[in-house]
Amino acid sequence: MTDKLMRAERTSGNEEDARSLGLTAQEHHRIVDLLGREPNGVELAVFSLMWSEHCSYKHSRKLLRRLPTEGAHVVMGPGENAGAVDVGDGLCVAFKVESHNHPSAVEPFQGAATGVGGIVRDVFAVGARPIALLDSLRFGELDSPRSRYLFSGAVAGIGHYGNSIGVATVGGEIYFEPAYESNCLVNAMCVGLAPRERLIRSAAAGEGNQLVLLGALTGRDGIGGASVLASAQLDVGDPSKRPSVQIGDPFEEKKLLECSLELLERGLLRSLQDLGAAGLSSSASEMASKGAVGIDLDVARVPLREQGMEAFEIMVSESQERMLCVVEPERLGHVLGVCAHWEVRATTIGEVTGSGRLRVLERGHVVGDMPVTALVDDCPLYDLAPAPPTARVYPDPPRRLPDAGSAADTLLALLASPNIASKRFAYEQYDSIVGSRTVRRPGTADAAVLMLAGDGGSGALAIAIDGNGRRVACDPYTGAIEAVLECARNLACVGAEPLGLTNCLNFGNPEKPHVAWQLERAVDGLAAACRALMVPVVGGNVSLYNESDEGPIYPTPVVGMVGRLADPALAPGIGLREPGHAIALVGPFAPALAGSELERLRGRMADGLAEVDLEAQARAIVALREAVATGGIASAHDISDGGLACALAECVLDGGIGARVELEALAATVGGEEATLFGEGAGGVLVSGPIEALQPLSETGELLWLGEAGGEALELRMGADSLSLSMSQVRAAYERGIPDRFS
């Protein structure tokens, strides 16, 4: 015991150690000032993590202030574990998206699985029952064996975790681009549901209240998320002390989830917080900070999976499936009883104090003592030094398609491109129906639709997640706007009004001026689009330094949106429903090849995208939503990757009904056959239904009649030119696109 205490003290927290832990000399000085002395090893470990980019947002926090966060439905904004919005009938929806990029690049199955576990805990930490997951994935192209390994591992990991805990994975998106070859992206979004009064915050309160750790044993998992921490202080030669890959245990999570929700339901907790990055250090200091209190905790009381763990290791361990809660002493027995029922470990490890300090004890001896404000609020925040790139940041993508080619061949090539092809390979590995809420499953509608009737609510939620990094790379401001618009349009396609937005900002190294510029432009684009649509940002996550020797990833803001619609029975899918239904294009839509999938396949990448008229787009989204919500529209599908022709092919395949359309009028306004067929850009939606049902759309906005559903083929005509493909040809290209890359 004394031996350990001495070791903690002996390990000095001098400047050199600080640097090896990723802190700058100035940051170290600031810590010394704040403490009034040099930190010891335990304190330095805690500071280095609390002041890491991951926990402090030191390079992004100032920028995030530009995002609008207020809205009529907001119940909890950014700052809590998950944001929440009101969906009526006394119910709230809590949601958030989070990245697990680096762990997934190391071990895709476990990295993705623990990513799901982490975001699920964020949602039940606010008292909401997780009801849906979505995933946004980016990998290198599938001709790379490593990308195939990462992709199949990540998908299996997401499925494994989500399926095992009984939370439906209802949507997502996947892109394969060379810019993600060395840095894949694995973002997961979780959506939860709670009666409004059951929502709980993480602020610790009440001097003398007990701090109880729930869930898994603590091991040396992912210590610090950075091996420097361990190697700086431990004998690297001793393999038993090396930090290790985090392994997800969904069974433990499932019990923890049910147990936590039952504790909340019975009103037994004062506050609740998950243990995520930086483990106990971060969760204890966040809880203390939010409640403006202090916390004493004794690491010797933390149940361990491995022997001989040091105090600092226990403080920074990222072992999964753990939660921390604050309990009034008289309720402790009751809490432990509920935990025993669920076979969840529960251990009192400390208590709330009035000291305003985080004190780390080891068998009662103080081994660390830090002001909570210093840990949470005093990390220096940095201004970015943005500057537009002076040279091209990204090379042209490899050329896969010649410039000349028949429209039919081009369409088949696009449909078979893994970015557009069916993602069935992935979503069939996800349980998308558990919970009995899923009205629209993956692949059948632009947004997932989850009904609320079984939860005491009415109507349904609509959820979508979007973000096209390549287009953001072409133009960070417009690309980010497009991501928000696409998400909102996806919601409108099922008739839903957006209530709130979450986002994950995946970028390269922000200390580089051109990356800072991408980040700033993208955040400004997000902010502008949110204002135009009047959708508040209620939470999110930032993942920086996604960069390798070949350069940064494409700047990839991923946008998740939750909306509400009144009648799920009316929510259209993408599939054509009846022969004879009219097909029309709702605009404003000005497609162009710049930034399109076709341009990519031809080995080019545009510099700049056409400006978007945000007001007009916002108006069109409202009009579409209102038209859809009144019923009568049989199908609605947003035109996105691969342009109109690909969107129409998807309507045909999902409906199992052919289509005949005439595009000459559109081509006249767009200019160019290829741009008409395959051009991309904000705003276009294909709708079908009886003419009378679509008619009202022409009064509120731009509507162009294209043709009608029927037959067994996909026929696109443009004056004298025509393109006709049988359903089976189209289906083969679309369905085989991804599986063929694996054989």
Binding site: D249, E428, S436
Partner: protein, 221 residues
Amino acid sequence: MKFGVVRFPGSCDEHDALLACRRFADAELLWHGERDLKGVDAVVIPGGFSYGDYLRVGAIARFSPVMEAVGEWAAAGGPVLGICNGFQVLCEAGLLPGALLVNAELRFLCRQVEVEVVNAETPFTSTCDPGERLSVPVKHTTGRYFAPELELDELERSGQVVLRYLPGQNPNDSRRDIAGVTNRAGNVLGLMPHPEHAVDALTGSTDGARIFESLASLSPA
């Protein structure tokens, strides 16, 4: 008429099953740690990953106290319906013949499939027409039904094969396209498709309701 839906730690579809049962009768949850079946008239063992399905699917759950009671109940002729993980648990417990192996594709698979009612004369299918086709989802990693050939012949002969995947619909390479089987006495049914996820047109199909309807039409024990 009252259904009891067993809940293990790691069950996932117990509320879905409860909701489905409640469309036709009373229903309540039965906790894995208690031997008491609370006077229910039919037992449902739902889908999920009991005990994480660590070790082997269904292997640990069969030892739980509630399963002792279910065993006695089944031996006395009480109806027991095992769905997905419930099917796996019943096989492990020896209440149903055969075993479930990992899907030929080694992957979890969630998809709507069509099955044929091979035997419409069981307590679980009495409201179906013989040969009726039902559209019901499957979602599992370990659903490839296996039994030795002689036993399969015997199962077919004695009408224990109740549900079969339609040609081209077998999602896991189950022997003889078997999707659901009963025990010899016919009072215990295990099936991989999830009828509880097919009781509402809004969420896909109502064909699964037949199973619950059939059970609910039994006269209370």
